[in-house]
Symmetry: none
Subunit: 217 residues, 2 copies
């Protein structure tokens, strides 16, 4: 469970880092620029965002994050208490808003709320009209629940965690059969075919010589 903490105040940052490290893996950054580049690569489960940063406004970044399709839960930490600040934060896609100063246990409680199921992974992944709930094993296509066979579900689970990024055949086979050398036949292709039949042909692209890629539609 990875958290990204963006907070420029050294004392508060250090304290929060220490607090959160007891329960989660935390990256603490002090600038928007650093946060941007970390978000691009890291798969974080929650973003803790201070608004008064030295190199820009956190709300603007959050807006662009949401615009680019990023669905990570965001908790805003801010000293700004005016009502319209709060509204603006939540309107741009923040999931919660905490005004400094706050009690540590209140922060932890709100984090628990935002972290789905207290642990496993992000519980609801969305790619275009496709939505995937990791905890309840439900899959929605165009707001209708559909039923996937187990293997197809496992494949989709991996693909949904790397939306728009190719996933190697090796990785997918591993997901289906574990590390021990699995089957020697073309099961992967058959199951991919099954997925395509259920989700629509264009939703899974094949990357020749490497693997497959889920594209949002």
């Amino acid at each position: 469970m990875y958290l990204l903490l963006v907070e420029d105040d050294l004392n508060l940052g250090r304290a929060l880092h220490k607090l959160l490290q007891r329960q989660y893996r935390v990256h603490w950054l002090r600038t928007l620029a650093a946060a941007r580049s970390h978000m691009e690569q890291g798969n974080y489960d929650l973003l803790l965002l201070d608004l008064g940063l030295p190199d820009g406004d956190g709300v603007d970044w959050l807006k662009s994050l949401r615009a680019s399709g990023c669905q990570i839960p965001v908790l805003i930490l801010s000293a700004r208490d005016r009502l319209d600040d709060r509204v603006r934060g939540l309107d741009t896609g923040a999931d919660d808003y905490l005004v400094k100063p706050f009690r540590p246990d209140e922060l932890l409680a709100r984090i628990r709320v935002l972290l789905p199921a207290g642990g496993a992974t992000q519980s609801r992944l969305t790619a275009g009209s496709l939505s995937f709930a990791t905890d309840t094993h439900q899959v929605y296509l165009n707001d209708e629940e559909i039923n996937l066979p187990p293997k197809e579900h496992q494949l989709l689970a991996v693909l949904m965690q790397s939306i728009d990024k190719p996933v190697s055949r090796e990785r997918l086979n591993q997901q289906l059969y574990g590390l021990g050398d699995g089957v020697d036949s073309n099961t992967l292709e058959v199951h991919i075919h099954g997925l395509r039949k259920l989700l629509g042909k264009d939703r899974i692209e094949t990357v020749r010589g490497y693997g497959y890629r889920l594209v949002p539609l």
Copy 2:
């Protein structure tokens, strides 16, 4: 990762441009006026600023930049070595100060310190406008994702790890076919030809009698 290099000396500028292009995307400008207009629009991650410019003093510009709230990391390159010059540079908001002449690797080291998140990602290689993500198997040319056939992708993977350095035909053939004696024909040349067609003719130079070399553009 975008750098803005402001340096009026043609020889030094060209050399720095070439050096930095191996790892970053660089815009090289020779006047303060050009730098001003570029800074207004471009989102740069680092500013490399020479002080002895033809149309004004870099320190004055830096001061006004900081006054207007710009927080971009700035590294000053200068021949002025007097202590008060150095102090003046740092006081007006520069993050570091390098006295000419300097060693290339020292410059690169200081850039890495100043760049958010320690600079380039290891899993993402960049040569000019070409970017290569080893983990997700993605290749970007001018910020657009492109699709490479498997063999071409394998070749590019090797070339990207030795940007600007020639790679032997032997090494490249080995990458394609393993150590066991591969093919006896001119497949390597054909695939290089394919790569050139996709990436641009000038991006891969041939080193006669030895191999090929990827140059940043």
